[in-house]
C-alpha cells in the first residue's frame, strides 16, 4: 500500500489554459499517461503540489502530416503512434513504440512524456534522433523549436523551464529511398527496459549510402547520435567490410556504465552488434 502524496488536480481544456496554470501554480507538473509520474509519486521521488492533466486538451491529441513533417501531439500515446499510417513512414519509431512497456502502458503513455522523462533508456529517443526530430515547446512567452538532442540534459533531466510544455514532436517525412530500423536488447523479451538500444536511418542511391544516421540508448548520459561513425558510412557502398569497420568504431563513440541491467563492456560490444542489425534492416527497407 503506497498512497499517493496529496496534490491539487487541474484539467485544462486548452493549451493556453494549461500554460497559464504551469506559469502561475507552485510546483506544477504536467501529466498525460502518468505511467512514469504516478510510480515516482508513490515512491515519493516526486511530489508536485499541482498536477496539470493534459488529457482533456483535445488540440494536443493527434498524429498528422503537415508541411512535410510527421507531427505527433503531446498527448498522442504509444498505441496511437504504433497504429498510425502516417507514423508508419518512420518504421524505426513504430517498431520502438510498439515494444515499449505493455499494452496497458502503451494505451496511456505518450511519446512526449517518454522524451521529457529524459531517461537514457527511453526507447522512443534513438528512432526520433535518427529521424532528426524536433520538439515544439510552448510557454506564455511564446514557442521555441529545438532539435530533440537539446531536450536532454542528463539522466532524467530535461532542459525545460518549469513554465514550459512540450506541445509537439515532429520529424521530417522521409524521402523515397530512405529506410530506418530500431533494435534493442533487454533482460527479457517483453515489458523491460533496454540494456542497449540502437536506431539506424539510411538513404541509398544506386547502392551507395548517401545519408546515414545512428543513435543509441542506455550507453551514455542521454540518448546519443554517433556522428563519427555516420561520417564513416556516408558516400560508401554498404559492404561487409564497411559494416565491420562501423561496428568496431562505434565502440569508441559510446560511454556506457555498468549497472543492474548490464556491464559497460557488454553494452559497448552490443553497440556493434545492434549497429549491424539496425543498419542491415534500414538498408533493406530503403531499397
Amino acid at each position: 500500500m503506497k498512497p499517493l502524496p496529496k496534490f491539487k488536480y487541474h484539467a485544462p481544456s486548452t493549451v493556453e489554459e494549461a500554460l497559464y496554470l504551469l506559469a502561475t501554480l507552485d510546483e506544477a507538473e504536467p501529466v498525460a499517461g502518468g505511467t512514469d509520474l504516478v510510480p515516482l509519486m508513490r515512491d515519493a521521488a516526486c511530489s508536485p503540489s499541482n498536477l496539470v492533466d493534459l488529457n482533456n486538451v483535445a488540440e494536443l491529441n493527434y498524429v498528422r502530416e503537415d508541411s512535410g513533417y510527421i507531427c505527433i501531439g503531446a498527448t498522442a500515446t504509444h498505441a496511437q503512434v504504433a497504429s498510425s499510417p502516417i507514423a508508419a513512414k518512420a518504421p524505426a519509431l513504430v517498431d520502438a513504440v510498439s515494444g515499449i512497456g505493455s499494452p496497458q502502458v502503451r494505451n496511456r503513455a505518450t511519446i512526449a512524456g517518454n522524451l521529457c522523462n529524459a531517461s537514457p533508456a527511453a526507447d522512443s529517443a534513438p528512432p526520433l534522433l535518427v529521424h532528426e526530430a524536433e520538439v515544439a515547446i510552448r510557454s506564455l512567452k511564446g514557442t521555441r523549436i529545438i532539435p530533440l538532442e537539446e531536450l536532454f540534459a542528463g539522466p532524467k533531466l530535461n532542459t525545460l523551464e518549469p513554465d514550459e510544455l512540450v506541445t509537439e514532436v515532429r520529424l521530417p517525412a522521409p524521402p523515397e529511398g530512405a529506410g530506418s530500423s530500431f533494435k534493442r536488447i533487454g533482460r527479457r523479451k517483453a515489458f523491460t527496459l533496454s540494456v542497449v538500444s540502437a536506431a539506424a536511418y539510411v538513404e541509398l542511391s544506386g547502392g551507395e549510402i548517401t545519408e546515414a544516421r545512428l543513435a543509441f540508448g542506455s550507453v551514455a548520459e542521454t540518448p546519443i547520435r554517433t556522428r563519427a561513425v555516420e561520417e564513416l558510412l556516408r558516400g560508401k557502398a554498404l559492404t561487409g567490410g564497411l559494416l565491420d569497420k562501423a561496428a568496431e568504431s562505434v565502440k569508441a563513440e559510446v560511454s556506457p556504465i555498468t549497472d543492474v541491467r548490464g556491464t559497460a563492456e557488454y553494452r559497448r560490444d552490443m553497440c556493434g552488434v545492434l549497429l549491424r542489425r539496425a543498419l542491415a534492416e534500414a538498408a533493406e527497407r530503403a531499397r
Binding site: 496529496k6 488536480y9 502518468g34 505511467t35 510510480p39 492533466d53 502502458v105 494505451n107 515489458f191
Partner: protein, 155 residues
C-alpha cells in the same frame, strides 16, 4: 471532488480525492472487487480494466481522469459471450491457480480477442505481456486463450 463516469454500462458518481487511484476508487467505493491491487507500479497487470475500451493499469490512473469516460471491469462482462468462452477455457485448461492475476489476465485476453479473434501464439503473448502470473508459468494461460479463440463462432 465529484467524478462522474460510466461503470459497466451504468452512470456513477463518486466523491473522491484527486490522489485516489482508479483501482482504489473501483474497489473501495464501487465494490468492483474483481479488480486486484498488486504492485501499484503498473508492472503486474492485476488491476487491468478497460478505459474507453482499451486495457489500462488502473493503479496508474487518477480518479478524476475518468471523468466523462467509460470503465469496464470483469463484473460488467459477466454475461458477455466472449468472456464466457474465455472463462470456460481458463477453467478447462487449468489456467487458474491462485487466481490473483486472473481478472486482469481475462480483461487483457478479452481486449485481444475482441480486436483480433484469431491471433497467433506470438500475438497472444504480446497481448498479455503486461500481465504477470507467478503460478502457472503462462503456458496454460496461453493455451486457454488460444482455445477460447477457437470457440469463437466464425462470422
Amino acid at each position: 471532488m465529484r467524478v462522474n463516469f460510466g461503470l459497466n454500462g451504468a452512470p456513477v458518481t463518486v466523491d473522491a480525492e484527486p490522489y485516489t487511484s482508479l483501482v482504489d476508487m473501483l474497489r473501495d467505493e464501487l465494490d468492483a472487487k474483481s479488480v486486484k491491487k498488486g504492485c501499484e507500479q503498473g508492472e503486474c497487470g492485476a488491476c487491468t480494466v478497460l478505459l474507453d475500451g482499451s486495457p489500462v493499469a488502473s493503479c496508474l490512473v487518477l480518479a478524476p481522469q475518468v471523468e466523462g469516460r467509460y470503465v469496464t471491469t470483469l463484473e460488467g462482462l459477466e454475461k458477455n459471450s466472449l468472456m464466457i468462452d474465455l472463462r470456460e477455457a481458463f477453467m478447462e485448461n487449468g489456467a487458474v491457480q491462485c487466481g490473483f492475476c486472473t481478472p486482469g489476465m481475462l480483461i487483457s485476453a478479452y481486449a485481444l480477442l475482441r480486436d483480433n479473434p484469431h491471433p497467433t501464439e506470438r500475438e497472444v503473448k504480446r497481448g498479455i505481456e503486461g500481465n504477470i502470473c507467478r503460478c502457472t508459468g503462462f503456458t496454460k494461460i496461453l493455451e486457454a486463450i488460444l482455445d477460447a479463440a477457437e470457440r469463437i463462432a466464425p462470422e
